[in-house]
Subunit: 347 residues, 2 copies
């Protein structure tokens, strides 16, 4: 299917892209302008052996607006949002409060510390003009488009020279989400985060995802498509964690065939509906799309990973002392039991 | 000062220890008995390169009891708790719902997975019989005793053969704490968690904590004692993060001199009062005591690390897509600004 993109330069210079199955008319109205950027930068944590990012301007970001003030809804008379169009399918634009930016400056030296510029790019991806929708509520066609847009953005951002690209979504007030309009984010990094490096190196040594799919207990599978599947990983870090992967090794979503994308879209909607049905309440979660960092394109196998935060009707999963202090995740629900309950939940 | 310990074997065989400056009379009444242990075990996460611990029995653990039912208060007529004594200073006992245990069995093989027994020991440490107290409310003398008990437990658990010992405290309903009575936990592991290994190896290559203290911007220091100090680390992962360390390299709290322990106790109470004063509300936090794993006793410099979860009056710090998906922490408040506000908060 064809993917159309309409490029718009926002009043403050930020890029906005409208992706869709049909060409967009592109008649723009008024729009929100960005606040001056804060001085983001990176500091090396010598004990964690990881970069920590400081982004002071983010403290002021929009916090739980009423629906009538949603900056991700199309702009209307009396309410100016980020998207100055009357309609769209999927919109992508540069974040008003970016933690990383392409023109990030080198910070002033601090004695004893290793510093770096917070190089990267932060984008917002809006899944639908419908404020009350969610991944579980989108049609399979829209989910396919979303996966295709993830792929298109990963390709563009990699071509811009970024080392790693992470599409993700945080959902739910329970985990601090400040905007309810269905949307995700895409972070591109000009450095390789240590956790992504570990995963990519491990995959370079052995085809871990292919092996995982091959040896997977069928009872862990939620939806087995011809070209892609969803399952509870047998080493899940969160109760009811769900992964999706194409069966073939594909480094990032731009390399998916139509069949693989279609299978992933169906598995994604299916997984989201099961997660929402599990406790009869919208499931708060973090979804990440793991794509090949630079240099690992020939060995990395992309996955979509959903980390849900509700472990029981009125209980959330929190990271506590053992997770934070030692990096050891404690999980209350065995993956086999989680899969049994998710398979029983109606999709 | 002298440290007395009274050992009690609970009705179900678990060990309970009463530590104090005075000998304990040790007349025991009725007490809670442990539920049968679940089958905890470890599974290797091949992409994170870390063990994940599964502890099914924990799902049933006590959840937000009313104060009158607190299992950490001394047992009284009509309410049976964990501590069958009428009074105590500091009590330590084996957790009723241990995620790790010394007699953990090797789990049944699962195709394609690397498994291990969840070897270790989980202890609860109760700071005071006063249900409504907190670290901020304890006297300096009680805090000194607490640090000494941490040291005593680390030594005992290391002598039992455990590879790493982590005293910690989770505080606040905001981060899922199920019991409000002031208490912490101590986890001993029969394996070396990857995050602890990274930190210990980094310190074996360079005296990072000594260098940090030596080059520390004085504006980051909250309380500078002769033998120990508290400060905001310049690479803090959480807003208002506070670390405490003895100036001399000490591998674990059992090696502290009286002066170092006294300085740390005063800095600990001071830090806790500042954190509670910052937003005029009890600060939810994770506190961990980082001690030398086996084999790193000659290079490790112990720290006490406090990771607060409130970043503004009504805003919590959550781990979201970038933290969970890439391991990159985003921090809204610069360490220098956090230190300025903490120094201004009344202790």
């Amino acid at each position: 299917m064809s993917l159309f993109v309409h490029r718009h330069e926002k009043a403050d210079g930020r890029e906005l892209l409208l992706y869709g199955r049909a060409p967009h008319q592109g008649i723009a109205g008024p729009e929100l302008e960005a606040a001056p950027a804060g001085r983001s930068h990176l500091r090396w944590h010598p004990l964690r052996q990881e970069w920590v990012a400081y982004a002071g301007a983010r403290q002021a970001r929009t916090f739980l607006p009423q629906a009538a003030e949603c900056p991700l809804c199309v702009s209307q008379a009396g309410r100016i949002g980020e998207i100055p169009f009357s309609d769209f399918e999927i919109a992508v634009f540069e974040n008003r409060f970016p933690a990383f930016s392409a023109d990030a400056e080198m910070p002033d030296a601090i004695r004893g510390l290793t510093l770096a510029q917070a190089g990267g790019r932060c984008e917002v991806i809006v899944y639908s003009p419908d404020h009350r929708s969610s991944l579980a509520g989108l049609s399979d066609e829209r989910l396919e488009l979303l996966i295709e847009v993830w792929g298109a953005r990963v390709k563009v951002l990699r071509d811009m020279g970024f080392v790693a690209v992470l599409p993700f979504e945080n959902r739910g007030e329970e985990i601090g989400v400040t905007l309810h309009h269905p949307h995700g984010q895409i972070y591109a990094f000009s450095f390789l985060p240590a956790q992504l490096a570990r995963a990519a190196k491990a995959q370079a040594e052995a085809p871990l995802i292919a092996q995982l799919i091959e040896t997977l207990d069928p009872a862990l599978i939620l939806r087995a498509g011809q070209a892609a599947l969803s399952f509870v990983p047998p080493f899940a870090m969160y109760p009811y964690e769900v992964w999706l992967a194409p069966r073939r090794r594909v480094a990032s979503p731009d390399e998916l065939t139509d069949t693989e994308r279609s299978d992933l879209a169906q598995a994604l909607g299916d997984a989201m509906r099961r997660l929402d049905a599990l406790f009869d309440a919208p499931m708060p979660y973090i979804l990440t799309v793991q794509t090949a960092p630079q240099g690992f394109e020939d060995t990395f196998h992309m996955t979509i990973e959903i980390h849900p935060f509700r472990r029981d009707t009125n209980k959330l999963k929190y990271l506590a002392g053992v997770e934070q202090g030692a990096g050891v995740f404690l999980v209350d629900v065995l993956p086999e039991e989680a899969a049994r309950r998710l398979r029983a939940a109606s999709a």
